[in-house]
Structure formats: C-alpha cells, structure tokens
C-alpha cells in the first residue's frame, strides 16, 4: 500500500529505510507467529481427550466368522474373528494385486491370527463399511463393503476395489491376556 511513496534511492539500490523495513516486518512476522501458536495449539486434542485413548475388548465374545464394532477414540473399530478359510484367502493374495501392499501377517498379532482389529471407517470418506455381520454384503473379496461409494475390502481389511486409497488402519494394540486386547 506504500506504493505511492518513494523509498529507493535514485540508482535503484537499497536504502537504509529498506533495511529497516525488512527488519521490522520480519520482527512483526516472528512476533505474530509466536502469538498465534497458542491459539492454534489450543484447538488440538486436549489432555483429557488424549487420556480417553485406550479401550479393552474381550475377543472371546466375538463368534467365528463375524465381527463386532467397539468405540475407540470416539470412532468405530472393527474386531473380526476370522475363519481359517478367510485367513487362508487373505494370505494367498500376492502383494502385487494390492493397492496398498501389506501382508496379512503385518496386520495381526502372531498367534492371534484369527483376530483382525482395524479402524472401522472407510479410508475413502470415512463411512462405516458393512461386513461385521455374517448376513452383511461383504463385497467381492469377502471382507467389508462400503455401499456409499463402493469400496471393497478383503478379509485382511485391505482395499481391493473402489475409490478408497488405503487399507483399513490397524491401531496400536496388544493382548493383555489370552482373550483381552487393549487398543491404544
């Protein structure tokens, strides 16, 4: 806005005022940035929200062939009890056939291969796919199917077809006993 004032010397070089101008605006930018940081940071998850971040699931309650949905961090999380045939099917898929290549072994805990725990929101736009109930439409790959935009997941929760870009995410979890998994 200061275009109407002359502030360069005749030869076109920088003047003392130009230097002062740059220094001042730099100081203003740093100061404003510092002041803005707490305002922005306050909108991040707060300590009490982060404290709600573990959930325990008794996986023995999940019948073979079906899945259940539990709440973790306010979102659905799938716990699927897979049949040996479904595990077989997941492991037979070559990585080259996958959009987001990941082996089935990477997605489960060793010795607990039957239990697949994944986030329950489609990686496309966040809908909750069908497939936990045996009677649900599980899509072409027998895992989950999101009818909203047509994404198909396999029995390892990996994306196989449709607009979703990524596999259903596997959260941090561990088995704290033979039958209880703690998510988060």
């Amino acid at each position: 806005m200061a275009d109407t004032t002359v502030r360069h010397d005749e030869s076109g070089g920088a003047t003392r005022r130009d230097v002062l101008d740059v220094v001042t605006w730099s100081a203003v930018a740093i100061g404003a940035g510092t002041m803005v940081w707490p305002l922005i940071s306050s909108m991040n998850p707060s300590a009490d929200v982060l404290a709600l971040s573990t959930t325990e699931v008794d996986v023995s309650q999940v019948p073979e062939g079906a899945g259940i949905t539990v709440m973790w961090r306010g979102r659905p999380t799938f716990v699927r009890h897979r049949t040996p045939a479904e595990i077989e099917e997941a492991r037979a898929v070559p990585l080259s056939a996958l959009k987001d290549p990941q082996t089935d072994e990477e997605r489960v805990k060793e010795g607990k291969d039957a239990y697949l725990i994944t986030g329950g929101n489609c990686t496309h736009l966040g809908c909750v796919p069908l497939g936990n109930k045996v009677t649900d439409d599980r899509g072409e790959f027998g895992g989950w199917f999101c009818p909203c935009h047509g994404s198909h997941y396999d029995t390892s929760g990996r994306i196989r077809k449709g607009p979703a870009p990524l596999n259903l995410p596997v959260p941090e979890y561990e088995f704290i006993s033979d039958t209880v998994a703690r998510i988060g």
Binding site: M1, D3, T4, W37, P38, L39, S42, N44, S46, A47
Partner: protein, 431 residues
C-alpha cells in the same frame, strides 16, 4: 503524502483492480497511512491505538476460549478448570483474556483522562467523545457479563447484586429483574443470555469504534496544545505514529505480560475459584477493580452521615437503593453532557492554570473512590465515600461550568510551527 483527502492511485495492478470495485484499500490507506496527524502528539496519544489492539486481542482469545467453554450452570465451572488443566495453552489464553480485560480498562481509563486533560471532548469533537462514552458503557456491560461466565462465587453473586440494582425502580423493578434473570433467580437462563451477549457486544463495540474513528478523522486528532492545526503542523500517520504506537505497544506488552505470566490472579478475586453456590454469600462481595469507583458511588448514596439531608428524596419515593442506582448511572451519564458543562473555550489544560490542578483533584478523587469501593463499608469508609462521591459530581456539575467563566487562560500560540521556527520558544509550553 501529507493529507488523506486526495485520491490514491495504487501502482500494484491487483490493488488497483480491487480499489476500482471496492474502495477498501484506499480507505485503509487514508486512515492508517496517510492520515494527517498533529506532529506534537505525546505518548498519551498511544492509548487509543492500544485500546483498539486490546479489543482485537480480547476478541481473538475469546473466540478460541469459547470453543472450550460450556455455558451451563452445572458445567461452566468445570469447563473452565478443564481449560486451565487439559486444553493446550488454555491457561495462557484464559489468563490473557481475563487480565486482558483489566488491561483494556487501564488503557481506556488513561485514554479518557487524556481526553479530559487536553479537552478532547470540546467542539467539534462532542460526538466523538459521546461515542467514546457509549463504548465505555458497552465495555462495562461486556466485562460484567464475561466475569459471570466462570460461574464462581464472585461471578454468581456479582450477577445477583448487579441485576438486583434494577429492582430499585418502583413498580417495574421486580418484573424487570425476573425478566433479566429469565426465572426466579440467577440461574441457567441468566448464564445462557449473558454468554450470548458477552459474545455479541464486542462486535457492537467494533462497530461503535468505527464511528468513533470516523468522527475522529473528520476533524482530525486533538493535540497537547489544543489549538486547531494547519496542514503544515501535521505529519502522515505512517511511519511516524505507527512506529511510535509500536514502541508504546512493546512497553505495554511488557506490563501486560507481567500480569499474565507472573501474577495472573493478582487482579482477580480468590472466591471465584469456588463454584457458585446460591445458598452461601461470600463474606465480602466486590466487583473487579475497574468497577470499584462506580460501586463506591452506588454504596455511598445512603441517607446518612453527610447525605442525611437527602432524606427529603425519600418522600418523593426515591429510596436509598434507587438513589444509589441513579447516582451510579449518573456518574457516567454526566460524562455524556460534559462537552456542554465545560464552558471554557480553551481545550488543553496546559493553558488553563486552575483547571490543570482541578484535573488532578478529579484523578485523586477517582483513586479514593476506587479504594472506598474495595473496602468494607464501615462508618469512616462511608463518610470518605460520600465526600468523594460529592466531589465527583461537584467537579462536573459545578466546577466545570464555573471555571470556564472565571479562569483566565494563558495565551495560546497561533500555530505549532511559528514559535519554533522563529526561535520564539517562550510561546511553546514546556510539556
């Protein structure tokens, strides 16, 4: 670029394109860059800009705090404790906002006393001054309602006391109070509407501030000498006063930061960390410091001690309680008509040998009233409060009209430049 009246032509193509369709850049340029300001403004002229900055800061911190606050009697207190403990930088934002209110009032009070000293309220700036008083009233309403939101003991009982003021009016008093409360006590509906209005009023203030600035820029800023200035005595606002205001801001932020980081609760009352309890009144209900002078006036107008003769008003139906309310509102209303109460033609107190002392008496009076407002009203305190209240009104209603006629002002210079350029320093005030 010494004056702001001429058409601005921007070199930047985009700026020209915008300016041709919405002349907002030229408006900003004329009022913030080119605005011809008197070249003799002293540091007391920093406080208008500081007040504007505080308003913006309060709005910004407030908007972010509201994202974490719950306006419900059962959850408000806890939501604030959550802000203090769990929300990232919540402590900083809340302390900046709560102390920011105090800082805003400090800045605005200095701004007002500056206006009083240099006669900034006199023609042709009467509306400018009156808009300022409106801003003060809006600020007081906003600050009061904001103080209620944490739903602590002082919040609750402060709301109780202030809303009960309206019960002083005969006949309509009680229905008005019920209406204000939205119920039969200060309760959830009261908290909700206070929250709504606390969010709304700052934006109304922004609107009135714009009017205040338009009124200011119509005739230009007053100055320490108080004479009308020619073009020659003015300099562009930028860079001269932008730099001066920035320096003032830096110093002010040091002061502000001391409170936020080292004494965030010095200006608050510890009882507000006790959750509101409608069944227990705090031992001593006091408002925030910036309301103390008005609170003192409210409490001093009892028909007792030196005000015993006022008992005649009780025969007219004006109870002590109503008198207190009237006096308190009157203490601000008197400022609205000050431009007509002050009969002196000379603006600056620098050229008014008696007024410059009377001004300081008013400052002392305000300090005394502040002290009285914070004390438990014992007999001595009431007497001091009554004397101070009396003086407050005598200052505006008696001294100001009379002094203008009786006082003989010192001769004013014709311009700022002439005495300096001709080395005639004698006509230039030392201040």
């Amino acid at each position: 670029m010494a004056t702001g009246s001429e058409q601005v032509v921007f070199k930047n193509k985009t700026a020209r394109w915008i300016e041709d369709r919405l002349p907002i850049l030229g408006f900003g340029y004329q009022h913030l860059v080119a605005y011809p300001a008197p070249r003799n403004l002293n540091y007391f002229w920093n406080f208008g800009a500081l007040a504007g900055i505080m308003l913006v800061l309060q709005i910004i911190t407030g908007i972010v705090l509201v994202m974490q606050y719950t306006p419900h009697t059962e959850m408000a207190f806890d939501s604030i404790e959550r802000i203090m403990r769990d929300v990232n930088y919540g402590w900083l934002l809340r302390y900046a906002h709560a102390n920011g209110a105090s800082m805003f009032f400090i800045v605005v009070y200095i701004h007002i006393f500056r206006g009083l000293y240099y006669g900034s309220y006199k023609a042709p700036r009467e509306l400018l001054w009156m808009l300022g008083v409106v801003i003060l009233l809006l600020m007081m309403a906003t600050a009061f309602m904001g103080y209620v939101l944490p739903w602590g003991q002082m919040s609750f009982w402060g709301a109780q006391v202030i809303t009960s003021l309206f019960s002083a009016f005969p006949l309509v008093g009680d229905p008005i109070v019920t209406w204000l409360w939205g119920g039969f006590a200060v309760d959830n509906p009261t908290l909700n509407r206070f929250f709504s209005l606390h969010y709304l009023l700052p934006f109304v203030i922004v609107g009135v501030v714009f009017l205040h600035l338009i009124a200011l820029h119509t005739h230009g800023s007053n100055n320490p000498v108080g004479i009308d200035l020619t073009k020659k005595d003015k300099i562009p606002f930028h860079p001269y006063y932008t730099v001066k205001d920035l320096f003032g801001l830096a110093v002010f932020l040091l002061f502000f930061s001391y409170f936020v980081f080292f004494g965030p609760n010095i200006l608050g009352h510890p009882d507000n960390y006790i959750q509101a309890d409608p069944l227990v009144t705090p031992a001593h209900i006091v408002p925030e410091w910036y309301f103390l002078p008005f609170y003192a006036i409210l409490r001093s107008t009892v028909y007792d001690s030196i005000f015993t003769p006022l008992i005649v008003f009780s025969y007219l139906g004006i109870t002590e309680k109503l008198m207190g309310v009237l006096a308190m509102f009157g203490s601000i209303a008197v400022l609205l008509v000050l431009p007509w109460l002050d009969t002196s033609r000379v603006r600056s107190a620098n050229y008014r040998p008696i007024y410059r002392w009377v001004f300081w008496l008013l400052v002392i009076d305000a300090v005394v009233l502040t002290w009285v407002g914070g004390e438990v009203p014992t007999e001595t305190v009431v007497l001091i409060g009554q004397l101070a209240t009396l003086y407050y009104f005598v200052h505006f209603l008696v001294i100001m009209p009379l002094l203008g006629r009786l006082e003989r002002p010192r001769p004013l210079p014709d311009s700022l430049g002439r005495p300096v350029l001709s080395h005639g320093a004698s006509a230039q005030p030392a201040e």
